[in-house]
């Protein structure tokens, strides 16, 4: 009875169409952002930032990008790792080769180049879908794996094959403590989250969803499948590219192509499936889940093991991780294809009645 829309009458279409039409939602989101920006820094330690929060923020951003392509537009992509790699390496090259390049511009440049690559490898989507499209995106993944390993220009002809960045700063504000890195990433996530939410609820979002649900009928209404699919690839790759640049610059500091391998692509896809396809919130849920689970297992399993007298090695933990991921993917696809986000919205529905039973 507290979470209800009673009395909240909208008197204009604009009011009805805003991002968070329910007043309680609006307050909740503001509270969450305030907590994230101010409350969290007061509560957590360095390890938490490095191991959980910063990866969570950046991977949420990447999952957001993947969700737009896979969840909203229905185009399967197994090559997101490659787009992250393009973002990271091109941001690196822009940053290092151009004197005095501002950090944010370099990061966005990485996204821009990722968009170009995304458009190229998105062209097959105009011809094929499903498994066939998955193979095309895998081609992107493997080609980029090779390119960043073998073509010296990308790594600034670095002998070791890996690249690194340091001395990040924005308009004089240096970003080197975990707190500062956290706030930097949080800023990106909030801005991109807002832009993405706007896109999916406007005309282009409807076009994407139309293509996903029934692309032959979409053409008949006057939706251009080519524009819709390529724009989905473009927007998605841009976001994923920026996330990749952030991952390299802020989280890793120095990296090699293996950081963006096919395992990363699968990881992002799993985040989207578990979190909820076609849901902005879902990307966050999925990222949180996938970031936290390995850490959770790493702490809990050995403890459980000693309880029953069995020695559980790290290899076993990683195998268990795989098994749980696999089982969860299957479970979600069977039981709740719309993932955690759907469970969340079901929870909200129940919340409307609380504390009344019906």
């Amino acid at each position: 009875m507290f979470y209800r829309e009673n009395g909240q009458f909208k008197t204009s279409y604009q009011a009805d169409q805003q991002i968070f039409p329910i007043t309680q939602d609006r307050w909740a989101i503001l509270a969450i952002i305030a907590f994230a920006a101010i409350g969290v820094p007061l509560l957590v330690d360095e390890y938490f930032y490095r191991a959980i929060l910063i990866p969570f923020l950046i991977l949420s951003l990447a999952a957001l990008g993947v969700n737009i392509l896979v969840g909203y537009c229905g185009q399967i992509s197994l090559g997101s790792g490659a787009f992250m790699a393009v973002g990271a390496y091109m941001a690196y090259n822009t940053y290092v080769r151009v004197d005095g390049m501002p950090l944010i511009v370099a990061l966005l440049a990485g996204g821009f180049f990722a968009t170009l690559v995304g458009l190229v490898f998105g062209i097959p989507s105009l011809r094929v879908k499903g498994l066939y499209l998955a193979v095309a995106t895998l081609a992107a993944q493997f080609f980029c794996d090779w390119a960043f390993l073998r073509i010296g220009w990308f790594t600034n002809n670095n002998a070791s094959g890996s690249v690194s960045v340091s001395n990040l700063n924005v308009l004089g504000w240096t970003i080197d403590t975990p707190l500062e890195k956290y706030l930097f990433c949080l800023g990106f996530l909030v801005v991109f989250g807002l832009l993405a939410k706007n896109l999916v609820r406007s005309a282009i979002g409807r076009e994407w969803m139309a293509i996903r649900d029934m692309d032959v009928a979409a053409a008949v209404i006057g939706i251009r499948p080519m524009y819709a699919k390529l724009s989905a690839f473009a927007v998605s790759s841009f976001i994923v590219g920026v996330a990749g640049a952030l991952w390299g610059f802020v989280h890793l500091g120095s990296w090699e192509p293996a950081a963006f391998s096919i395992d990363r692509s699968f990881q992002l896809l799993f985040m989207v499936i578990i979190g909820g396809m076609g849901s902005i919130m879902g990307s966050f849920f999925g990222a949180a889940f996938i970031v936290v689970l390995p850490i959770f297992l790493n702490q809990v399993l050995p403890a459980l093991g000693t309880l029953v007298g069995v020695d559980i090695s790290t290899a076993t933990v990683s195998h268990t991780e795989y098994m749980i991921f696999g089982a969860l993917i299957v479970w979600f696809l069977i039981v709740e294809p719309h993932g955690l986000a759907k469970l969340w919205s079901i929870g909200k529905q129940k919340l409307r009645l609380w504390p009344f039973p019906h």
């Binding site: 076009e207 969803m209 139309a210 649900d213 029934m214 008949v220 209404i221």
Partner: protein, 260 residues
């Protein structure tokens, strides 16, 4: 109320359609005049939906041409046809099941939306104003079809009769000159049929939209049509006013079979 029927707006000339060895349509010719209600009838498998698919650009005819608003085409391009003003509903309801009623009908407005991606992402100024303007139009259609209570419901959750109305709404959102309706009353009970009839007549009356209608219910066809085309086994066997067609021997034979 009397209505004025205009000149020929859609002219189908010698259309043939082949799928491998199967001839779906053979040498079909007929025309549709502006503001009229033209029905296409015929037994199952006669090729009626295929005919609509040709007009719509979903199928490419093997022979023949179609003239629409003065321009002649061998092959209609779906998007171009939509832009020129032909909209349609589908026999099997090609609705976007995951979206709400409003979003489904809004998707019909996509042709008219001008603002680009960046503006939409920022949801600023012109993009916002455009979205509101289109929302108004869509709300008119929702009022017209009397589905206000369901506007936020995901379409997949609605009963069949209401889904058909949403299908019609989406087509109407395109503000078409010609509306192709593929069995809009299939699977409906008497009340629902009456409602749908009323909507179709209102659309024809108030907006002057030309209607091309495939329908099996003879009562409806004879009642509301201005002219009727009859197909059987992909060939045209009758063309004219409802009464003429009703008394045409070939048509009677097609429906009832020959007596031996």
């Amino acid at each position: 109320m009397s209505k004025v029927i205009g000149d020929v707006i859609l002219d189908v000339q010698n259309i043939s359609l082949r799928f491998g060895g199967v001839k779906a349509l053979t040498d079909i010719s007929f025309n549709v005049k502006e503001h009229e209600i033209r029905s296409i009838i015929g037994p199952n498998g006669a090729g009626k939906s295929s005919m609509l698919n040709c007009i719509n650009g979903v199928y490419t005819p093997s022979e023949g041409s179609i003239t629409f608003r003065g321009q002649t085409f061998d092959h209609m391009n779906s998007r171009q046809v939509a832009e020129m003003g032909i909209a349609r509903t589908f026999q099997n309801l090609a609705l976007f099941k995951g979206m709400s009623v409003i979003d489904n009908i809004m998707s019909g407005r996509n042709l008219k939306i001008k603002s680009n991606l960046l503006l939409q992402a920022l949801r600023w100024g012109p993009a916002e104003r455009e979205e509101i303007a289109h929302r108004e139009k869509v709300e008119h259609i929702i009022d017209f079809l009397e589905i206000q209570a369901f506007r936020k419901t995901p379409v997949g959750q609605l009963p069949y009769g209401l889904q058909k109305r949403v299908d019609l709404g989406r087509a109407l959102a395109m503000e078409p000159k010609v509306l192709l309706l593929d069995e809009p009353m299939a699977g409906m009970n008497l009340e629902e049929k009456q409602d749908m009839c009323r909507f179709i007549l209102d659309v024809n009356d108030e907006f002057g939209t030309t209607i091309v209608l495939i329908e099996h219910d003879m009562g409806v066809v004879m009642d509301i049509s201005d002219r009727v085309v009859v197909l059987d086994y992909g060939k045209k066997i009758g063309d004219g006013a409802p009464d003429e067609v009703r008394n045409n021997e070939d048509v009677i034979r097609a429906y009832l079979g020959t007596s031996h």
